[in-house]
C-alpha cells in the first residue's frame, strides 16, 4: 500500500499543497489533471527524485520519505522512452536485475520470461533507437517491472504513442495491474483514466480536488473545475454487445436494465459510454427523430449552470439512472419544464462515446 500524506513542495511560481491519498495493493490509481497541476512533481517525490518540503510518503506502512531512490523499490516509466541508447534491449531489461544479487542464468531466465510476456523476444538484440514507439514502451514497462517493484509509477506513458500502440499498451497495463501490481498513473487524458483506472484523484491548482472511483468522479464531480475538466456528466458503465448479423457499426450497450445505441467498431466487452450534456435534447412528447436513443422519465433537478440550465432526468424507471441535459433558459420556459414533469430525453448514437475498459 502506498500512502502519501500532506505533501507540500514549493518552487518559484509553482508548487503542490497538502496532497494526500492512499493507493491499495492491486489498485490502478490515476492522478488526473491538466498540464501544470503538479502531477509529475508528485511522481518525482514518490520516486525519490525530488524531496518534499513537508509531508511523508509511506510504502507498506514504512516511511520512505528520506529513503534513497535505489532502495525504494519504486519504478518509474516516462512519457518518452528512457531506454539506455548504449545498451541492447536485453541489456536494458537486465539492468535492474544486475543490482539485486542474481546470477547470470537467473537474469537470462527473467529477461526471457519478460520478453515473452511483453512480446519482444525477437527484439532482444536490437538497439532501442531502432524500436517503434509502442515497442519502446513495451520494453520500458518490462524493464520497470523486472525487479518486481512494490510500486509502478507511470508518467503519461501513452501520450507519445499512436492510436494502435496506445491500445496495445493499455491492454498490457491492464494485465500488469491484474497481476496485482500497485500502479500510480499520471495523465491529463480522461479517456486513459476511464479505460484503466480503478480509482482517480483529480488534481487542480496544485492540490487534490476529488478522489473516488471512476463513476463517482464522472457522475458526481464535486466542483465546477472537475465537471468542466472531465467534461462529461453522463457516464455509464456496462457491456458493449457483439455486432448483430448484417454487421453495421450501430451496436447495443447494456447498462442497468437499459440499452443504448452506440456507433463504434470496438470489439464487444466491458466499457463505459459517455454522452456530453450538450448533446442531449429534451422534448415533451415522443416524436419521430433520427436519434436512436429515446428515453422517458421525470425531471429530478433543474439548476442554472454557466450560460444555460442543467436538467437532470431519471430514466431508470425506479432504479435511478440519471441523465443530464444542458439547455437554454428559453427552452425551459417554452417547454414549461418543472421538477417531477415527465419528459423525453433524446441523443444520437453518434453522440454516445464508447471507451473500453
Amino acid at each position: 500500500m502506498l500512502s502519501v500524506r500532506q505533501i507540500c513542495k514549493t518552487y518559484p511560481g509553482f508548487g503542490i499543497k497538502d496532497v494526500s491519498f492512499e493507493v491499495q495493493q492491486c489498485e490502478y490509481f490515476v492522478l488526473l489533471g491538466p498540464t501544470g497541476a503538479g502531477k509529475s512533481v508528485m511522481l518525482e517525490i514518490i520516486a525519490g527524485l525530488t524531496r518534499p518540503d513537508s509531508g511523508s510518503v509511506l510504502l507498506d506502512g514504512r516511511d520512505i520519505t528520506g529513503e534513497k531512490i535505489q532502495n525504494r523499490r519504486i519504478s518509474l516509466v516516462f512519457q518518452s522512452s528512457a531506454l539506455f541508447p548504449h545498451m541492447s534491449v536485453y541489456e536494458n531489461v537486465a539492468y535492474p536485475l544486475r543490482w539485486c544479487g542474481r546470477t547470470r542464468s537467473q537474469i537470462d531466465q527473467r529477461v526471457a520470461k519478460l520478453a515473452d510476456d511483453f512480446d519482444f523476444s525477437h527484439l532482444l538484440e536490437a538497439r532501442p533507437q531502432t524500436l517503434s514507439g509502442g515497442e519502446s514502451q513495451r520494453v520500458s514497462l518490462a524493464r520497470a517491472v523486472a525487479s518486481e517493484p512494490r510500486c509502478l509509477l507511470l508518467d503519461e506513458p501513452l501520450s507519445s504513442l499512436d492510436a494502435s500502440s496506445r491500445c496495445e499498451i493499455r491492454s498490457l497495463l491492464r494485465n500488469i495491474s491484474a497481476n496485482g501490481q500497485l500502479i500510480l498513473h499520471v495523465t491529463h487524458d480522461y479517456t486513459e483514466a476511464v479505460s484503466l483506472s480503478t480509482h482517480i484523484a483529480v488534481m487542480e491548482d496544485a492540490r487534490i480536488a476529488q478522489i473516488g472511483t471512476v463513476e463517482e468522479i464522472f457522475q458526481h464531480p464535486q466542483s465546477q473545475f472537475i465537471a468542466r475538466f472531465v467534461g462529461i456528466r453522463n457516464f455509464f458503465k456496462g457491456r458493449l454487445k457483439a455486432p448483430e448479423a448484417g454487421g453495421t457499426s450501430l451496436r447495443h450497450f447494456a447498462t442497468d436494465g437499459l440499452s443504448f445505441s452506440v456507433l463504434t467498431d470496438r470489439p464487444a466487452g466491458q466499457g463505459s459510454v459517455m454522452v456530453r450534456s450538450e448533446d442531449v435534447t429534451i422534448t415533451n412528447a415522443a416524436s419521430p427523430t433520427s436519434a436512436r436513443n429515446n428515453f422517458a422519465g421525470p425531471i429530478v433537478d433543474i439548476a442554472p449552470i454557466g450560460g444555460g440550465v442543467e436538467v437532470i432526468v431519471d430514466i431508470g424507471h425506479g432504479k435511478s439512472l440519471e441523465i443530464a441535459a444542458i439547455i437554454t433558459n428559453e427552452a425551459v420556459s417554452a417547454l414549461e419544464l418543472r421538477l417531477g414533469k415527465k419528459v423525453w430525453v433524446t441523443f444520437k448514437a453518434a453522440a454516445a462515446i464508447f471507451i473500453e475498459g
Binding site: 527524485l49 531512490i69 525504494r72 518509474l76 516516462f78 539506455f84 548504449h86 523486472a146
Partner: protein
C-alpha cells in the same frame, strides 16, 4: 538535382569560400613549406638519431600518461559542473579556463614555485624520494597543467548532453549513484570525453613554454627542436620538426578514427 543545387553559389558563399581558402592556405602553406624543405635522406638520418627517438617517445608517453592520470579526477569534476549547482560555480569554471589564458612560460614559473626543492610540495616529495625537477614527472605536470581545460570542458559538455531522464530512470531501477555514473552517464558521454582526451593529449604533446621552464631535461621534442634551432640553426631543427609533426599527425588521425568509429555504436 542535388549536385546542381549544391553547386549553385551566391556571392556570400563565394566570399566566405575565398576568405576561408585564405585561412586554410595560411595554415597549410608554412607546414608544407617546412616539410618540402626537408629531403628524405635528411629525415631518415634524423629518424635514426637516438636523441630524437628518445625525445619523441618521451613526448608521446608523458603526454598520454598526463592525460590518463588527469582524466581520473577531471571527468568527475566535469560531471559535477554539468549536473550540480553550487556556490561560486562561475568562478570554478573561470579557474578551469585559466591555464588556456595565461602565458605558458608564466604557467611554468608558477608550477616551479610549488614543486622546486625549496617549496612545500617539492620538499614533501623529496622526503618520500620523488624529485620533480629534471624528471619526466615534471614534464607531465607541465603538460597536464596547460592542457587539462580541454578535457574538462569537452567532458562537461558531454555530460550536459546526457538526458537527465536516463539517469533518473537508472536510479529508480535500483542502481546507486556511482553505478549510474559508471554505467549510464560516462558511456553516454564517452565520445566527448574521448575527444576531450585526444585534444588534451595533443595539446600536452605540443607544449613548449611551461615544460621548458620546469623540465628542460629530460628533453621532450619541442624543447629539442628549440635547442637545435638555437644552437645549430633552422637547417638542423627542421628535420626534427617535420618528423615530430608526422608522428603527431599519424597518432592524431588514428585516435580520431577510433573515437569516431565508436560514435555509431553509441547513439
Amino acid at each position: 538535382m542535388r549536385s546542381t543545387s549544391a553547386l549553385r553559389t551566391d556571392s556570400l558563399s563565394l566570399l566566405c569560400a575565398a576568405l576561408g581558402g585564405a585561412v586554410l592556405l595560411f595554415i597549410i602553406a608554412p607546414l608544407a613549406s617546412l616539410c618540402l624543405s626537408c629531403s628524405l635522406p635528411e629525415l631518415a638520418e634524423t629518424a635514426g638519431d637516438d636523441e630524437v627517438q628518445a625525445s619523441i617517445w618521451l613526448t608521446l608517453w608523458t603526454s598520454m600518461a598526463a592525460t590518463v592520470f588527469c582524466a581520473v579526477a577531471a571527468i568527475p569534476l566535469a560531471y559535477l559542473l554539468a549536473r550540480k549547482d553550487f556556490p561560486l560555480k562561475g568562478l570554478v569554471s573561470g579557474i578551469i579556463d585559466l591555464p588556456v589564458v595565461i602565458p605558458h612560460v608564466a604557467a611554468g614559473l608558477a608550477l616551479l614555485t610549488v614543486v622546486s626543492r625549496g617549496a612545500a610540495l617539492g620538499r614533501a616529495a623529496d622526503k618520500i624520494g620523488i624529485s620533480f625537477i629534471g624528471n619526466s614527472l615534471a614534464v607531465m605536470l607541465a603538460m597536464a597543467f596547460v592542457s587539462v581545460p580541454y578535457l574538462i570542458n569537452s567532458a562537461r559538455d558531454g555530460f550536459a548532453a546526457v538526458p537527465e531522464r536516463l539517469e533518473k530512470a537508472a536510479l529508480s531501477l535500483g542502481a546507486n549513484p556511482f553505478r549510474v555514473f559508471l554505467t549510464v552517464s560516462v558511456p553516454l558521454a564517452a565520445r566527448p570525453i574521448i575527444s576531450g582526451m585526444i585534444m588534451m593529449w595533443a595539446r600536452g604533446m605540443s607544449e613548449f613554454g611551461a615544460v621548458m621552464i620546469i623540465a628542460y631535461r629530460p628533453m621532450i621534442t619541442p624543447v629539442l627542436i628549440f635547442e637545435r634551432f638555437s644552437a645549430f640553426g633552422l637547417k638542423y631543427a627542421q628535420s626534427v620538426a617535420v618528423l615530430f609533426i608526422a608522428v603527431c599527425l599519424v597518432f592524431f588521425v588514428v585516435l580520431r578514427l577510433l573515437a569516431g568509429g565508436k560514435k555509431d555504436a553509441q547513439r
